[in-house]
Point group: C2
Chain length 429, copies 2
C-alpha cells in the first residue's frame, strides 16, 4: 500500500505511476491459446476431450459431457432456504434492471417521404463462460445469463470446467434459476473455441461472455470477430472517495471486499481527512487478520493498495477520471455533487449506505464492468451485448428523386460508377 498526498511536489509522478501500473498478468499465453483454438477448430470434440482430461483432470467421455437440467433443478431445490431466497431476490432485481435496458426500435418517415429506422433483435445463441475453482460464482451466472434471457436469446449455453469432475451446486442452482438451456463440462480456451466454431456435440453460438483466467480472456480476444464477446476483462478494482464522517470500519471493509478477490485486485481510498486515513488503514489491518481470504487480500493491498489525501473530495474527481475505475464509491453527504464530476467509471455507488458489494449481488445493475481504465470507452455488460441492430431504409420514386442525385454525384467523385448507375437508372422513371 502506498500513501500519497496530492499537495506534495512528487505527487504527479507518483500518481501517474499508479495509473499506469500494469496489474494484468503478463503471461505469454497468446501462442498457447492460438494452438488450442486451432486444434479445437480442426479436431473438434476429440481435441476438447483430450484438453479437458489434461487440464481439468476430468474425462468427459467417461463421466459425461453435460450437466442436465434435472441436476440443476435438484441443486436449486437442495439450497438452504435463506440462500435460495437470496438468489431469487437477486434474480428478480437483476431481471427488472435489465428489462429496462431493452432498446426501442425506430421507424420514422422524414419530410422527403423517406422511411428510416432500426430494428433490434437478439442473437440466436449465446454462450456463458463460468470458471471453476475459486472464481465459480453463482452471482456471475445470474449477471451473464439473465441479460441474455431478457434480450430474447433462444439458446443459452453455459460452459464450465469441472476440475476432477466436481461440480458446484451453487452454480448449477443459479443456472436453473436463470434458465440456462445447456451446460457443458468443459473450460479454458478450448471451451471458448468450441463455442465459437462449434463441434459435433456443441453447436456454435454467436456471442461468448463471462469471466475467466488469462487463457479464457485471451481466447475471447482472439475469437472476437468470429463471435461477439462482452469485453476484455482484467483484475478488479475499487476507488472509494470518503470524508472523515464515515465509519473507518465500513470503508476498510469496502477496500478489503475488492482486495480479497485476487492478488492483482486494487483498492484505492481518496480522503480529505488524514486522521480518517490513518483510522481506515488501522481498521483494515485488524480486519484482514480475521478474513478467510486474508492472504489474498494482504497481497493485493500491499502490492496495489493506495490511500491518497486530497485537500477536498472534489479535488479527487479529476484523479478518479484518470483511473477510470471499475467501481467507485462516493461516501459523503452530497455524493450527487461529486458524481456530476465523474466522466469515467464502470459503476458508481452513492452515499454511505451503498457498499459496492450490494451491487455485486442483489441491487440489479450488472457486476460485469470494464476494468483496467477501460471505463474510458467501455460499458458494463447489458442486454445490448446479446442483441444487434439492423438499420433499414425505404424510398419511393419521389424520395429517390429528392436525394438520389446527391448520391450519384458522390459516387462519381469517389470513382464508383456502378454505385452511381444503380441510383441513376432509377431516377429516369
Amino acid at each position: 500500500m502506498i500513501r500519497l498526498d496530492s499537495t506534495t511536489p512528487d505527487f504527479a509522478d507518483a500518481f501517474t505511476a499508479l495509473v499506469n501500473a500494469r496489474r494484468e498478468a503478463d503471461e505469454d499465453v497468446a501462442r498457447d491459446v492460438a494452438a488450442i483454438i486451432a486444434r479445437v477448430r480442426s479436431e473438434g470434440d476429440a481435441a476438447l476431450a483430450d484438453l479437458t482430461r489434461r487440464f481439468d483432470g476430468h474425462d468427459p467421455d467417461a463421466s459425461g459431457w453435460r450437466i442436465d437440467s434435472a441436476a440443476c433443478r435438484a441443486a436449486f431445490d437442495a439450497l438452504d432456504p435463506d440462500l435460495r431466497e437470496a438468489l431469487e431476490l437477486a434474480a428478480t432485481r437483476i431481471r427488472a434492471y435489465h428489462e429496462a435496458q431493452r432498446p426501442a426500435d425506430s421507424d420514422t418517415t422524414d419530410a422527403q417521404g423517406i422511411r428510416l429506422g432500426a430494428r433490434w433483435r437478439a442473437v440466436d445463441a449465446a454462450g456463458v463462460y463460468v470458471p471453476g475453482g475459486r472464481a465459480a460464482y453463482p452471482s456471475s451466472v445470474l449477471m451473464n445469463a439473465i441479460p441474455a434471457r431478457v434480450a430474447g436469446v433462444e439458446r443459452l449455453v453455459m460452459v464450465t470446467p469441472t476440475p476432477k469432475g466436481e461440480t458446484n451446486g451453487l452454480v448449477l442452482a443459479a443456472a436453473h434459476l436463470a434458465g440456462v438451456d445447456e451446460i457443458w463440462r468443459v473450460g479454458g480456451a478450448q471451451a471458448v473455441a468450441a463455442l465459437a466454431y462449434g463441434t459435433d456435440r456443441i453447436a456454435p453460438v454467436d456471442v461468448v461472455t463471462g469471466p475467466g483466467n488469462a487463457w479464457v480472456a485471451e481466447a475471447k480476444r482472439q475469437l472476437y470477430g468470429v463471435v461477439g464477446i462482452d469485453m476484455v476483462a482484467g483484475p478488479s478494482e475499487i476507488v472509494v472517495v470518503a470524508d472523515g464522517a464515515n465509519d473507518p470500519e465500513w470503508i476498510a471493509a469496502d477496500l478489503l471486499s475488492q482486495a480479497e478477490h485476487d492478488p492483482t485486485s486494487q483498492s484505492i481510498l481518496f480522503t480529505d481527512d488524514p486522521a480518517f486515513a490513518d483510522a481506515v488503514a488501522q481498521a483494515l489491518e485488524a480486519q484482514i487478520e480475521t478474513l478467510a481470504t486474508g492472504r489474498t487480500a494482504r497481497t493485493s493491498w500491499d502490492a496495489n493498495g493506495a490511500i491518497i489525501r486530497v485537500p477536498a473530495l472534489a479535488d479527487a474527481m479529476p484523479l478518479v477520471d484518470r483511473l477510470a475505475p471499475e467501481h467507485l464509491e462516493l461516501a459523503c453527504d452530497d455524493p450527487e455533487a461529486l458524481f456530476g464530476q465523474v466522466r469515467h467509471a464502470g459503476s458508481v455507488f452513492l452515499g454511505r449506505h451503498t457498499p459496492e458489494a450490494v451491487g455485486d449481488y442483489v441491487a440489479g445493475p450488472n457486476h460485469v464492468l470494464p476494468t483496467g481504465r477501460r471505463a474510458r470507452f467501455a460499458s458494463g455488460l447489458s442486454v445490448l451485448d446479446y442483441m444487434k441492430r439492423t438499420s433499414f431504409l425505404a424510398l419511393d420514386a419521389d424520395g429517390l428523386a429528392a436525394i438520389g442525385p446527391a448520391a450519384v454525384a458522390l459516387a462519381g467523385a469517389e470513382g464508383l460508377p456502378a454505385h452511381a448507375r444503380s441510383v441513376a437508372l432509377r431516377l429516369k422513371r
Copy 2:
C-alpha cells in the same frame, strides 16, 4: 459466379460451401502488426516517421505531420458546387439519423426506495482511420466522424496516409464538414498504434474506428482493449432478393455496385423467376464492360457472385439469415412481409426504389456495417460506439436493510467474507 437452385438435391451442400467460403485475406499479418505496434509503443514518433517513410513514401519530418484546418476549409471551398451540396445533404441527413440514436439516461427509485440508473457519456477522444489510395472515401469520413461529434466527443482525430505526400481534397473537405479537430498524415498499423498508445506528438484516443486494409484491421484487433474499436471489418457484400417484375438493369447495377468495391466483395441474387435471373446475368455482363471499375467487378463477380433460384421469395429468407449479409435489398411489392422474416442483416433496403448505394451516401443510416456473417451478433456503427454507460446505485439505511441480508448470504456462500462484512457492518445501524 455460380448458379444454384434451392430445389435441387445438391443445393444444401453447395449453399453451405457458399456460406462458409472464406473471402477474407488470409495474409499472415499478425506478426508484422505486433512488431509494428511494439515499435511505435516504445519508440513513438521516431518509429512512426520511419514506417511512414518506408510504407507511404512520405517523410513527415520534411513535408509535415499534420494537415491543418485551413487546408481542409480550402479543399471544401474549392469543391464543385454540386459536389459541395451533395456532401452537405449527406452530412445533414447522417447527422439527423444519428442524433436520434443518442441514448437516454435512466434514474429510477424502486419500491424499496433504492435508486438505480445509468448515465451515458461520450468518450473523451476518438480517432478515425481514413485509408489513402483507392478506398479514400469522403463518405466514410462523414459516416465515422459525424456519429462521434453527435455523441459529444471533445477531441476528434483523423489519421490518413498520404502516399508520396499526396492528399485527397474530397477527404479533407469531408473532414472540414464533419468538424474533425486534428489530421495526422500517417497510416497503416503504425497509425492505429499511435492513436492507441499516443506518441509525443499525437495524444492517445479512447476509441479507434474506420476502415482499412488487412494491417489496419489486424492492428485494431490487437489493440482492442487498449482502446475501443468499432468492429472487425471484412470484404463487403450484398444480397438482393428480387422478383421478376424488377428491371434487370437495375438489379444488375445493384449487384455490380458491390462487386466494384474489391475483388473480394460478394454479390448474391435470390429470385423466384429463372427468366429474370438470366436477364440480370445478361445485363450485368453488358454493364460490366462499360465500367471503369469493370476489372475489379469482374474478378469479384466471377469468384464470389451467385444467382440462386428459389420457389418463392419467402423461401430465400432462411438462406439470407444464414448469410447474415451486410446489405440486403428486398426488391418486390411487399418488402415488409419479407423483412419481417429477417433476423440477421446489417442494413435492409426495402422496395424497388431503394438501391443500396443511396444508403452508402445520403440516406442517413451508417454505411459502416458488419460483414462476413457478423450481422449475427454485430451492429452497424452508431453513436453508441463513441459513448459508454456508467451504472449507479444509491441505498439508504432502509434500502440496505431490505436487500442487504441477501447480499450477505450470497457473499458468504461464495466464500467472500469481506464482501459480506462490508454490507453486514452497515446493517447494524
